[in-house]
C-alpha cells in the first residue's frame, strides 16, 4: 500500500515537473527575442493635380501684308494625352494598379483605363483631339500668326509601402521602418481649347 502510494506520488510529481518545465519553456519561447511581426502597410497615395491654362498650339507665321482679318480660318490640332506609369520590382502589382485607378478618377471620360500585366496603365491612343476646328482669328490688325490655348490637367502621383515591424512585446525596442517606393504615375490631358487673344498686333513701322 505504502509502496503504491509512493509510486503514485512520484508519478504525480513527475507530471507536475514536466508541466512546470513545459510552462517555463513556453514562457521562455514567448519572451525569446523573436523578430518583430511584419505587416504590410500602404502610405496614402501622394497625388498632385493641377489644372492650368497652357499654350496649346501655334501656327504661322502666315505673312498677311494686307493686315486684314481673315474669316473662317480653319485649324486642326491634336493635343496628345499621355500616361507614364512605372513600378519598382518589389512593389506588389495591386499597389501600382491602385495608384492608376486613383489617378484615373481625375481624368474621367478623357482616358480609358487600360491595365496591362495586372498593373500597368498604358495609353497610346490620342483620345483628346481637336480636329478641323474653325476659328475666326481675333480682330487685331495684321494677324499673321495664330495661337491657341487650352486647359491642361496634369496629375502626378506616387505611392509608397512598407513592411512595418511590430514588436511582439511592448518592452522590445521599436524601430521605425522606412517606406519603400512603390509606383509613379504622370498623366496629362487637355480640354477647352480656344483661340488666344494675344498682344494687340499693331504694325510698328517706326520701331527699330
Amino acid at each position: 500500500m505504502t509502496y503504491r502510494l509512493g509510486i503514485s506520488c512520484l508519478v504525480v510529481l513527475c507530471m507536475c515537473s514536466v508541466a512546470s518545465v513545459r510552462e517555463r519553456i513556453q514562457t521562455r519561447a514567448n519572451s525569446r527575442q523573436l523578430p518583430p511581426i511584419e505587416t504590410f502597410l500602404l502610405e496614402p497615395a501622394e497625388l498632385e493635380n493641377a489644372v492650368l491654362w497652357v499654350p496649346a498650339a501655334k501656327s504661322g507665321p502666315d505673312i498677311n501684308n494686307g493686315c486684314e482679318l481673315r474669316k473662317n480660318y480653319s485649324y486642326s490640332a491634336i493635343l496628345p494625352a499621355g500616361v507614364a506609369h512605372t513600378k519598382t520590382p518589389s512593389c506588389p502589382r495591386g499597389v501600382a494598379k491602385l495608384l492608376a485607378q486613383e489617378t484615373a478618377s481625375y481624368h474621367r471620360g478623357t482616358l480609358p483605363l487600360t491595365i496591362l500585366d495586372g498593373w500597368q496603365w498604358e495609353y497610346s491612343y490620342n483620345s483628346c483631339q481637336f480636329e478641323s476646328v474653325s476659328y475666326d482669328l481675333p480682330a487685331y490688325g495684321g494677324s499673321w500668326e495664330g495661337a491657341w490655348e487650352a486647359i491642361l490637367t496634369h496629375s502626378q502621383g506616387s505611392i509608397d509601402f512598407q513592411w512595418a515591424q511590430i514588436p511582439s512585446s511592448s518592452n522590445a525596442n521599436h524601430e521605425q521602418t522606412a517606406s519603400v517606393h512603390g509606383s509613379d504615375v504622370e498623366v496629362t490631358t487637355f480640354s477647352a481649347m480656344r483661340t488666344r487673344d494675344g498682344y494687340p498686333k499693331r504694325r510698328q513701322f517706326d520701331k527699330r
Partner: protein, 400 residues
C-alpha cells in the same frame, strides 16, 4: 523526465529557428521559394508545442504567400488565424490588416472595409487603455493608415460623407497621440482631403471653414499657398454666381476663374480677383511648388485681362528659377518642371507677339528636353519655327 524536457526545449528552438530563418528572404519571392519556405515552416509546426510560436509561424506563412503574390492563399491563411478564438491579440491585429490590404488590392472593397473597420475598432480600444500609444509606437501608425485606407476606398466609391468621417477620425487619433512626426505627416493631408471632399459634395461653406483652418494651422504645408489660391477663387466664383461645379475639388478653381473671365463680358470683375492674387503672391516666391503655381495662375489671369507686360514679368520670374532650388519635399520635381516649361513657352509666345524675337528664342533655348511627340516638345518646336521665320521675314519688312 530529462529526456521529455530536452525534447520540448529542442522542438521549441527548432520552430523558432525555422521562423527566424524566413526573415532573411528577399522582399519578393518566387512560387518555388515560397513553397520551400512554407514546407520548412509547416514541418516545424508539427512538433511545436508553444501556442504563441505556432500562431507566429502560421502568420508568417501568410506573409510568405503574400510576398510570392499568392494572394488568395495568403488571405485564406490570415482568415483562419483571425477566426481562431485562441489567436493572440497582436497576431489578430496584423492578420486583420493583411486581410484588409489583400482585399483592397484585389478590388474587393466591401471585404476590405469590413476588415479595416474591425481592425480600427480593435486598435482604438487597445490604444485607449492607459499608455497604449507609448507602449507600442507602431500601432498608432497602423491605425492612422488603416483609416486613410478606409477613406480612400470610400472616396473612390464616391461615398464622400464616409470618407470625411474617416479622415476626421484620423485627426482625432492624431490629437490624442500627439506624436509630432505623425501629426506633421498626416494631419494637413487629412484636412486637405476633407476640404476637397466638401467641395465635391458642393458644401462650399464647410469647405471654406475647413480650408481656412488648414491655412491657419499648417502654414508650412507644401500645398498651403495653393489652398489659399483655391479658397480665393472658389469665393470669387461663388460671389460672381458663376455656374461652376467642383466635381474634382478645388484644384481646378483658378483655371475656372480664368475661363470664366475669358468668356465673360464682365472683365471689370477681374480687378477684384487681381488684387487677391497680388496679395497672395506678395507672401510667396516662385521657389516652391505652391509658389510656382500661384505665380503661373496669376500670370494667366493678367494675360486674360489684357495686362500683358505684367504677365510677362511674372512668367520671367518663374522661368529664372533653377528648378534644383525648388523642392516641395513631397513630390518629384516633374510637376514644377512641367509648369515651368509651359511658363517658358508662354513667355516665348508673348515675346513673339511683342516682336521681341531674339529674347523669345533665348527663352526657348532654356527649355528642357522632353520625350519626342509629347505636347511640350512638339509645341516648343512649332513656336521656335514660327519665331525664327518672323525674325527673318518680318523685321526687315517692318524696318523698310
Amino acid at each position: 523526465m530529462v529526456a521529455v524536457v530536452e525534447s520540448v526545449s529542442h522542438t521549441g528552438n527548432r520552430a523558432a529557428e525555422a521562423l527566424i530563418a524566413t526573415y532573411g528572404s528577399a522582399p519578393v519571392l518566387t512560387t518555388t521559394e515560397a513553397e520551400s519556405a512554407i514546407a520548412r515552416l509547416e514541418k516545424a509546426l508539427v512538433d511545436c508545442e508553444d501556442s504563441c510560436l505556432t500562431f507566429r509561424i502560421k502568420y508568417r506563412i501568410g506573409v510568405i504567400c503574400f510576398k510570392a503574390d499568392m494572394m488568395d492563399a495568403s488571405k485564406d491563411r490570415f482568415l483562419s488565424l483571425v477566426n481562431d478564438p485562441e489567436c493572440p491579440e497582436l497576431i489578430h491585429i496584423c492578420g486583420l490588416n493583411m486581410i484588409g490590404q489583400i482585399s483592397r488590392l484585389a478590388g474587393r472593397n466591401s471585404q476590405a472595409l469590413g476588415a479595416f473597420e474591425r481592425l480600427a475598432n480593435l486598435l482604438e480600444k487597445r490604444l485607449s487603455i492607459g499608455g497604449g500609444y507609448a507602449a507600442n509606437p507602431a500601432l498608432p501608425k497602423l491605425l492612422c493608415l488603416t483609416l486613410f485606407a478606409k477613406g480612400e476606398i470610400s472616396e473612390l466609391s464616391r461615398d464622400y460623407a464616409a470618407a470625411i468621417a474617416e479622415y476626421d477620425r484620423v485627426l482625432r487619433i492624431l490629437s490624442e497621440n500627439k506624436n509630432e512626426f505623425f501629426v506633421c505627416r498626416y494631419a494637413p493631408l487629412a484636412n486637405d482631403r476633407i476640404c476637397r471632399l466638401y467641395l465635391q459634395q458642393a458644401d462650399v461653406n464647410s469647405y471654406r471653414r475647413r480650408a481656412e483652418a488648414l491655412i491657419a494651422d499648417y502654414p508650412e504645408y507644401y500645398r498651403t499657398p495653393v489652398v489659399k489660391l483655391e479658397v480665393a477663387c472658389v469665393k470669387f466664383l461663388q460671389s460672381a454666381s458663376a455656374d461652376v461645379e467642383f466635381a474634382d475639388g478645388g484644384f481646378s478653381a483658378p483655371a475656372e476663374v480664368i475661363a470664366w473671365l475669358k468668356s465673360s463680358s464682365h472683365k471689370t470683375l477681374g480687378e477684384q480677383i487681381v488684387n487677391t492674387f497680388e496679395t497672395l503672391c506678395r507672401g510667396y516666391e516662385p521657389s516652391s511648388y505652391g509658389g510656382v503655381l500661384l505665380y503661373y495662375h496669376y500670370a494667366w489671369l493678367l494675360d486674360t485681362l489684357g495686362k500683358k507686360d505684367r504677365a510677362l514679368d511674372l512668367l520671367a520670374r518663374i522661368c529664372s528659377r533653377d528648378i534644383g532650388d525648388i523642392s516641395s519635399g513631397f513630390l518629384p520635381k516633374s510637376s514644377e518642371e512641367t509648369v515651368q516649361d509651359y511658363a517658358k513657352i508662354q513667355r516665348a509666345v508673348m515675346l513673339g507677339e511683342r516682336a521681341d524675337y531674339e529674347e523669345a528664342l533665348q527663352v526657348l533655348d532654356r527649355l528642357r528636353a522632353h520625350p519626342d511627340k509629347s505636347h511640350i516638345s512638339e509645341l516648343g518646336k512649332s513656336v521656335r519655327e514660327g519665331i525664327e521665320i518672323l525674325r527673318r521675314e518680318v523685321r526687315p519688312y517692318e524696318s523698310q
